[in-house]
Every structure is written in structure tokens, then in C-alpha cells.
Symmetry: C2
Subunit: 321 residues, 2 copies
């Protein structure tokens, strides 16, 4: 196959979705958005050497490029539908492309998301994915809806992807039994689609954790005009984390480590029971870590009733613009 | 302003569109697609050093990055609505960003297209734009609808952007009086939105010319299962082209030069009158350059009744994957 044929072969995949009137191969994709729904759209770019190592396993990269975008739909409570993939490749390496597509399409098929278009170009390795989902009219988990007194929750455990990164960089030694777990948390984040959908009628605000809880929760604070207080000893840390570093170091990774792609959301105290019921069907652990207060938009950390400061370990983080 | 503030300042622009329920700043944009319409989506990436010179005027680049995407909506006959901008920058240079945004937003405002999201990342300069438009249900100018006997038409004049590129590369000397015209055709392509909309009920197929007429028209041939015959002396060449190079060289640029972003479309002979009327309101010249025949999908060139071969000038073209 020549370059054009390879690209066409791997990046054009027929979809069984009936709402795809025209998929890849014409000037535009044509899509049928159901009546009485809103369209939710999100775009994320992953740049080689900035957001991932240039030699990252292509299957993991294919998964992650889609997962971080689906995570934005999850944070909005949307149903994933369609995706566009713009990929810039230094060369057309069939083995690499095949593996990338294996990771990408395994995840897209799991959520029945159709690849409807995109662009393949030559240049420094970079991937821009745009996902499209739908939401019932009037729904949508915005960042701006948190209320005074709401509980603050997160799904899963925090900081594991950052632990995986530090393990890969050789900065932290993770015990052998936990190495695969943290590498998977770093390379194969799982978008919390079902949780987001279940939260549609319950949460007052939500976002996904991409840059670390402390910074991300500050977005909810600013958008809602409220102060957040986090009890650091409530932060959910994995067994892998607890077996690898001290509790204080674990809290730092949970608060400042990126790439978790767990959801952070707020729920009124009145709806705690409803929340338990709704999320019990999702198979995802969730933890109450704090509460929203009136006051200057800010994230406050407390431990045993006293203000808590992060001890900055100065680990070598990925920096994003 | 710090880097984050600069990015937020320039890339977050409030929109007056009532169908934008949530613009940039949350996990997803939320958009209201009108009832009884199809959503049209297209994505294009421009990579520095591949699709444009690294030192290209940023205002022109901002215009062009959006224009080439709007051109895809035009080729589908869609109404432009929303756009996502993913831009990767080697550094946060406020002057450059300001100029880029001037070009981008002048065009987006002209067509009332709202910037609803995107991503700004650090890395080698590259721009991926995803545009969203709408179409009445059942409409859409596909590549696959051409019929035997249909006339083949193009808008504007062809090859001028390629002439502008060759001028910039120093390969062709364009007379002074025409230099600005060809540079503008190369740097500021104008998406044929109004023409596309006017063609919705008339054309049997359409696409936009991004890689050169001969190659692009072959897509219509393959999708429609037909042979196209082009009368090369009907190819519309600009005064600038005719003043700069020979007729044969002009035909080559018209047939193989990229970046024209004119529309190529087919119309039944029965609808020639209707076509004249519909396009008379668009202020865009259009020319009948050939006809569709049954036979092996292919583009045939004829001149004075005989087969015509392109004399390949071996100019240094941009190559795309």
C-alpha cells in the first residue's frame, strides 16, 4: 500500500450509527442530532514531547488521545456520539498507525462513538481530537452551578497517573506489584462517561481532573463564586500510592498531579442518598472530600481542623501552556 | 499579562449567537442545532513548513486557517455556525497572537461563526480548525451525485494561489500590477459560502478545490462512478495568470495547483438557466469547463477535440500526505 492507501485503510472505518448520514470521505461529515437535545463539543490536542513521551506505546496513545476528550463529555454529562481525528505524523509508519488505531478504535467502539472525519498531515507528531455528544435540552453539568453547603466529591483515586509519570521518569520507585496499575492509570485513563450521565440530575457542578485537583477545582470556585474546602485526609489514595510514597507526598500528587481524568463534582447535602443510589450502578468508587462555602473563590486545604500547605516536592512535572 | 491571561484574552471571544448555550470556558461547548437540520462538520490542519511558510503573516494565517475549513462547509452547501480552534504555539508571542486573531475573527465575524472552544498547547506551530454548520434535512452537496451529461463548473479563476506560491518561491516573475492579487489569492482564500448555499437545490455534486482541479475532480469521478472530460481552453485563467506565464503553463497551474478553494460542481443541462439565476446573486463568476460521461472514473483533458497532456513544469509544490 502507498501512504495514501495506508491512511485511508486505517483512518476510515465504517460506522453502524444510523445518525451518521455521511462519514469520512466527503467535504464534511453529515450528522443527525436528535430533536430536543443539545450538542456538546470538546477539543483537545496532545503534542509529542509535551503531553506524552515521543516513544509512548502507540496503542496507549491512541486510547489516551480519545479518552481525554471523552472525559470532557463525561464532565458535562453528555452521551458520546461522534469524533474527528486530526493527526500529524512525521512519517507514514504502518506498524505505528495500526497500533495507534487499535487503541483508538477499541475505546471508540466501547462507547459506540463513530469516527466521522479528520485530517492526516505530515509534520511533528501531534493529535487533535474533537468529540461530539448530546444532552437532553436544559441539562449539562456546568462548572458554575455549585451552591453554598454542597459536598465536593471525586471519583476513583487521585494522583495515580502522576505517580505513573514519576515512575517512568525514575523519580519514584513503585513496588513491583503496583507498577502495572500506575502505568495503566497514566497511559489508559478511563473516561467516567456513565458517572457523568448518572450525575445529570444530581450534581450542581462538575469537571474532569486533567491538571490536578487543586487547580481544576479552582475553576468551579471561580465559575460558581464560592470557596472550596478540602479535607486532605479524605483524599482517596490508591494502595499503589500508599505503598510507594508517604501520605503527605501522596496528597501532593493527588492535589497537583495531572492526567487523572476522574470527575470532580458538587452535590447538595439533600441529595446524598440519591447520589449513592445513582452511582451504585456505575461500578466506580466515589469519595466526599470537602464542602463549598461562601467567600473569595479559592481552594483551601485543611487537615485536622487546621490549614494545610502542600510540601512542594519539585518533581519534574509536564508543563502545559 | 502572563501566558495564560494572554491566551484567555485573545482566544475567548463572546458570541452573540443565541444557539451557543455555553461557549469556551467549560468542559464542552453546548450548542443548539435547529430542528430538521443536519449537522455538517469538517476538520483541517495546517502545519508550519508543510502547508504554510513559518514566517507567513499571522493575520493571513488566521484568515486562511478558518477559510480552508469554511470552504468545506461551502462545498457541502452548509450554513456556517460554530468553530473550534486548536493551536499549538512554540511560544506565547502576544503580537503574533493578536495578529493571528485579527485575521481569524475578521472572517468568523463576516460569516457570524462563533468560536466555541478549542485548545492552546505548546509545541511546533500547527493549527487544527473544526467547523460546524447546518443544512436542511435531505440536502447536502455530496461528491457522489454527478450524472451522465451533467456540465462541470468551477467558480472564480483557477491556479492563482499556485501562481502566488511560485511567485513567493521566486520561480515565476509576476508583473508588479498583479503581484498583490496573486499574493491575496494565496494568503486570503475566500470560501464560497453563498455559492454553496445557492447550489443546494441545483448541483448534483460539489467539492472545493484544495489540491488542484485534476486531482480533486477525480474524487467526484470515483464517488459518482463517471468519467469527466475537461476542455482545457475553457479553464478560467485570471488576467494576472495570463500576464505572467504562457497559456499552457497557466493550464497546468489551474489543473494541478493547490489552495484555490474555489468550488467545482456538476449541474444537469436541464438546470442551466436555474443555475444562472441562482448564482447571479452571489457576485461570483462561474465557468462551464466540461462534462460528465459514463466510463472508467477518470479525468480526461481535451483541447480542440484531441487528448491533452499536462506539460509538467516540475515547479516546487508543497507536498501533502
Amino acid at each position: 500500500m502507498n501512504e495514501f492507501d495506508i491512511i485511508k485503510h486505517y483512518f476510515t472505518k465504517a460506522s453502524h450509527r444510523k445518525d451518521v448520514i455521511m462519514g469520512p470521505g466527503d467535504d464534511c461529515a453529515l450528522l443527525q442530532v436528535p430533536a430536543n437535545t443539545l450538542l456538546a463539543v470538546s477539543t483537545d490536542t496532545l503534542v509529542s514531547g509535551v503531553h506524552f513521551f515521543a516513544d509512548m506505546d502507540p496503542t496507549a496513545l491512541g486510547h489516551k488521545a480519545l479518552a481525554v476528550n471523552l472525559s470532557d463529555l463525561a464532565a458535562m454529562g453528555a452521551d458520546p456520539c461522534w469524533v474527528s481525528l486530526a493527526i500529524t505524523l512525521p512519517e507514514v509508519d504502518e506498524v505505528w498507525i495500526k497500533q495507534f488505531c487499535a487503541g483508538f478504535f477499541e475505546l471508540s467502539e466501547y462507547y459506540n462513538v463513530a469516527l466521522v472525519g479528520g485530517d492526516t498531515t505530515k509534520g511533528p507528531l501531534s493529535i487533535t481530537v474533537t468529540v461530539h455528544g448530546t444532552l437532553p435540552l436544559g441539562k449539562g453539568l456546568l462548572r458554575s452551578g455549585a451552591q453554598v453547603g454542597d459536598g465536593i466529591y471525586v471519583t476513583g483515586t487521585l494522583g495515580d497517573a502522576a505517580l505513573g509519570l514519576q515512575q517512568a521518569l525514575g523519580n519514584i520507585q513503585v513496588p513491583k506489584a503496583h507498577q502495572e496499575f500506575v502505568r495503566n492509570k497514566f497511559e489508559y485513563p478511563h473516561p467516567r462517561i456513565l458517572v457523568g450521565q448518572a450525575l445529570r440530575d444530581i450534581a450542581t457542578s462538575a469537571l474532569d481532573l486533567s491538571d490536578g485537583l487543586a487547580g481544576d477545582l479552582a475553576h468551579i470556585c471561580r465559575a460558581s463564586g464560592l470557596r472550596a474546602q478540602i479535607e486532605v485526609d479524605q483524599l482517596p489514595l490508591s494502595d499503589a500510592m500508599q505503598a510507594s510514597i508517604s501520605q503527605e507526598q501522596g496528597w501532593e500528587l493527588a492535589l497537583t498531579g495531572g492526567d487523572d481524568y476522574e470527575l470532580c463534582f458538587t452535590v447538595s447535602e439533600l441529595h446524598r442518598g440519591q447520589l449513592e443510589t445513582a452511582l451504585s450502578h456505575c461500578g466506580v468508587k466515589f469519595t466526599r472530600i470537602g464542602r463549598m462555602f461562601s467567600g473569595e473563590p479559592n481552594v483551601e486545604l485543611v487537615h485536622e481542623g487546621k490549614p494545610y500547605q502542600i510540601v512542594n516536592q519539585s518533581w519534574d512535572h509536564f508543563r502545559k501552556v
